[in-house]
């Protein structure tokens, strides 16, 4: 075959410009994705790496002076350049963003310090960072430790750190006990009491009254127990001297964790990092979500996405099967298809509004009137909840599933269907036994896309059940174990809440990145799960056509 440009002696391989153009597109796309991931991973992980505590000696009278003290200390979290207007022109002043901690004393946990104001800086080996239940970190030098049993250990003693560790182990045990009593045991009694109160007939009967008295008695015992544990937690304290000179005694019960960042060895730092990471994943949030972990948000996102997938799969697949296999192809199916595709482009908040109006107010309200009328006016299903959030997102992602299922069905060769029909199979048998298995990997791809879209969505959730702090998880050990009516926490909303609604934006800032990292990780994990299932299916049928 003689191509025209060969005749004119042009020996360049065909499509070279195309290669450059397309590869440029790919390279730019890849670069942006990698840059995004690198930024989030670096920022997200650095939150957990211990940073040294800097002691600064400031110029007397300079703007950076804290409470008239020229010696201050804190953790440098980042550096920024600030334009300062001069008499003529402008100058650039470099500043440290310093986490001075001790919010209870200073009022603010963070401040900017002009580098030029520092006369001398050093990293004192005995600088101590104490993570507390409230008021963020305490930063200073240890003075002494008053143990719950009355002994005191001076900070200079060799036994200081081990003694503090021991004491904190006791505190942790007490805290666990307290949680067991307050959340679990008392929660269970409250649950039983509510059930009883919702049943006035039973409450009026002698049986009911006896039960109520019994519950009350058990409650009193537990409440006394909780009070005792709280008292235990008050005992003992750690005295520290702040860099600015004040002395403070921190009750041991307030301490979560402590470390001496300036004298940590690298293995110790790694240990600290891993411990911090683990705590972040496994703990409940504290202090308006700026401290502690994000476990409820991870769990909520996971359960919600799973519920959404369970809801979206059957509807999407059945709709696609009808459209592709049964419906007579014509203007009607064509317009349905166009509508479905357009549905995918509707802004997600619109689905949120629909979810609120239809699922929450109408469906939920009706369910409440039919089945939970006793607890009205307190709504059970007639308010935002994880089931309504999952259904709203399912509705939002159903077009994705329909479109990809239709494509997967269309990709099943005609011969395969005819082979089945020629053996005396009915249409449904053919779809069920031959077409669907062959299309399964393609359908899974649709689910992957739907899950990725659903797990990252925030806006509609804010209307149908997500909260910044949920008192309980959607799945727990109280009957009926899966509480579809409960409000839940969500990583995406958590990020929004930290980033825009937090009272302490300096403290929230690192948490934003760390939470984002985990949102991405969770989405990747869920998708990997679906992809693994898809590969299984694909290997099982060895079609490899998708």
């Amino acid at each position: 075959m003689n191509l025209p440009h060969h005749k004119f002696g042009d020996t360049r391989p065909a499509g070279e410009t195309g290669v450059w153009l397309t590869s440029m597109g790919l390279a730019i796309g890849l670069f942006m994705v990698l840059a995004l991931l690198a930024l989030i991973v670096a920022n997200g992980l650095s939150v957990f790496w211990p940073k040294p505590v800097l002691e600064l000696h400031l110029k007397p009278g300079s703007a950076s002076v804290l409470r008239d003290q020229t010696v201050i200390g804190g953790i440098v979290t980042r550096t920024r350049d600030r334009m300062v207007p001069l008499a003529e022109g402008k100058a650039v002043e470099r500043e440290w963003h310093l986490q001075v901690g001790n919010k209870d004393v200073y009022g603010q946990g963070f401040r900017y310090v002009a580098i030029n104001d520092a006369l001398k800086t050093e990293y004192p080996a005995d600088a101590m960072v104490v993570e507390r239940m409230e008021y963020g970190h305490a930063v200073g030098r240890p003075l002494s430790l008053a143990l719950p049993d009355g002994r005191t250990v001076a900070a200079g003693d060799a036994g200081f750190s081990p003694a503090l560790h021991d004491a904190l182990r006791g505190v942790r045990a007490l805290r666990g006990e307290l949680r067991q009593v307050e959340k679990k045991a008392i929660g269970r009694i409250n649950h039983a009491m509510t059930q009883l109160r919702l049943n006035p007939d039973k409450l009026a009967s002698p049986d009911g009254r006896a039960e109520q008295a019994e519950l009350q008695k058990r409650y009193d015992v537990l409440a006394a127990d909780a009070l005792r544990i709280r008292g235990e937690l008050e005992k003992g304290s750690l005295s520290i001297a702040l860099f600015t000179g004040e002395q403070r005694a921190i009750p041991l019960g307030q301490i979560v964790h402590f470390h001496f960042p300036n004298r940590m060895t690298t293995p110790e730092k790694v240990g600290f990092f891993l411990h911090g990471l683990k705590g972040f994943v496994a703990d409940d949030p504290r202090e308006a979500n700026t401290e502690g972990g994000i476990f409820p948000a991870i769990f909520g996102t996971f359960v919600m996405t799973l519920l959404m997938s369970i809801a979206v799969m059957p509807f999407g697949i059945l709709a696609a099967i009808y459209l592709r296999e049964y419906a007579k192809q014509g203007w009607f199916t064509r317009s349905v298809r166009i509508s479905v595709n357009n549905l995918a482009g509707v802004p997600s908040i619109v689905f949120g509004v629909f979810g609120l109006g239809f699922f929450v107010y109408f469906t939920g309200g009706t369910i409440d009137q039919l089945f939970f009328s006793k607890s009205l006016p307190t709504p059970t299903f007639g308010t935002g909840g994880i089931i309504w959030a999952a259904l709203t997102l399912a509705l939002m992602t159903v077009p994705v599933v329909i479109v990809s299922t239709e494509e997967a069905l269309a990709a099943v060769p005609r011969g395969t269907r005819e082979g089945s029909l020629a053996l005396g199979a009915s249409k449904w048998q053919t779809i069920y036994r031959v077409v669907l298995p062959a299309a399964a990997p393609g359908i899974m791809t649709g689910l992957v896309l739907a899950m990725a879209r659903g797990a990252g969505e925030v806006a509609p959730l804010m209307l149908v059940g997500v909260v910044k702090l949920a008192p309980s998880l959607p799945i727990d050990d109280l009957f009926p174990f899966i509480h579809l009516d409960r409000k839940f926490m969500h990583l995406g909303f958590h990020i929004y809440d930290l980033g825009f609604q937090s009272p302490d934006s300096d403290a929230a800032r690192p948490m934003v990145f760390a939470t984002t990292l985990f949102l991405i990780a969770l989405v990747v994990l869920l998708n990997l799960g679906a992809i693994v299932i898809r590969e299984r299916l694909r290997r099982k049928y060895a079609t490899g056509a998708f």
């Binding site: 020629a422 005396g424 009915s426």
Partner: protein, 261 residues
């Protein structure tokens, strides 16, 4: 125009075609066919591309039902039962009339499941019956020795020839009376082709076989009867021996000697 030479004796007829015409929408693809296909013999359909061989074959098991706007006229009797009627149970019909396609179309399932597909959809779940059927049908399709150690691996990993033999095994598993084969060897190499031909010779002891082929030698080798189609019309139908040596029609003569087509 339909010159039927040496029609098969009447008592052995399994499919009796009486004045069948077929339309794809407004397009008439078959013109008033008459043909009587004898039982437990092999009948070959030959003719140039587009002359309606596949269309006619697919009339016999009502596969054309799947095509929108297609319409059949006339009468087609299977053992005296009218097939061109809306009351025919096509599922039962297709169990009696199996089909092997030009492009082998194994299901994305294991070899085992492929063979017993027809039984499964008929509700047979007895393990020993299924096992026995798999071995019997694969042996009959001359595939048993090659796949007996991997019955539960995917059928899509087989070679083209093996797949086609699997499709044959699959169609005989439901014990049909008639097997329709639409160019079963067109995608196969000579070795695989000769295996399938041997298989057809074997199968026609037991089943009625109708085969479409473009290969004159193949038609001459495997069939007892041959029908020559041209532009939707049956030009000549007779004993294979006769048709290939002394064709009655000039068109047949020209076609089998390769002078047109």
């Amino acid at each position: 125009m339909t010159s039927t030479l040496e029609a098969p004796p009447a008592e052995d007829i399994v499919i009796d075609v009486r004045d069948i015409s077929f339309f794809y929408g407004a397009n008439k693809a078959l013109h008033h066919l008459h043909m009587r296909i004898p039982r437990r013999q092999c009948t070959a359909f030959i003719g140039p591309s587009g002359c309606g061989k596949s269309t006619f074959l697919r009339c016999i098991n009502r596969m054309n039902d799947l095509i929108d706007g297609a319409r059949m006229e006339g009468s087609l009797l299977l053992d005296g039962m009218e097939l061109n009627s809306p009351h025919v149970d096509v599922i039962a019909l297709r169990r009696r009339v199996g089909m092997v396609f030009q492009k082998s179309n194994p299901f994305p399932k294991s070899i085992y499941e492929n063979v017993i597909y027809g039984l499964r959809i008929a509700g047979v779940n007895n393990r020993s019956v299924l096992d026995e059927t798999v071995e019997r049908c694969l042996r009959k399709a001359a595939l048993w020795e090659e796949v007996k150690d991997r019955l539960h691996s995917s059928a899509l990993q087989l070679s083209g020839g093996q797949m086609q033999r699997l499709c044959i095994a699959r169609s005989i598993a439901v014990n049909p009376e008639v097997i329709l084969m639409d160019e079963p060897c067109s995608a196969l190499d000579p070795r695989a082709t000769s295996r399938v031909e041997d298989l057809i010779a074997e199968l026609r002891q037991e089943f009625t076989i109708v085969i479409v082929t473009h290969n004159m030698q193949q038609a001459a080798r495997v069939s007892d009867w041959t029908a020559f189609f041209y532009e939707g019309k049956l030009i000549e139908f007779g004993a294979t021996q006769q048709l290939f040596t002394k064709p009655a029609s000039q068109q047949t003569q020209d076609y089998i000697t390769g002078r047109f087509g």
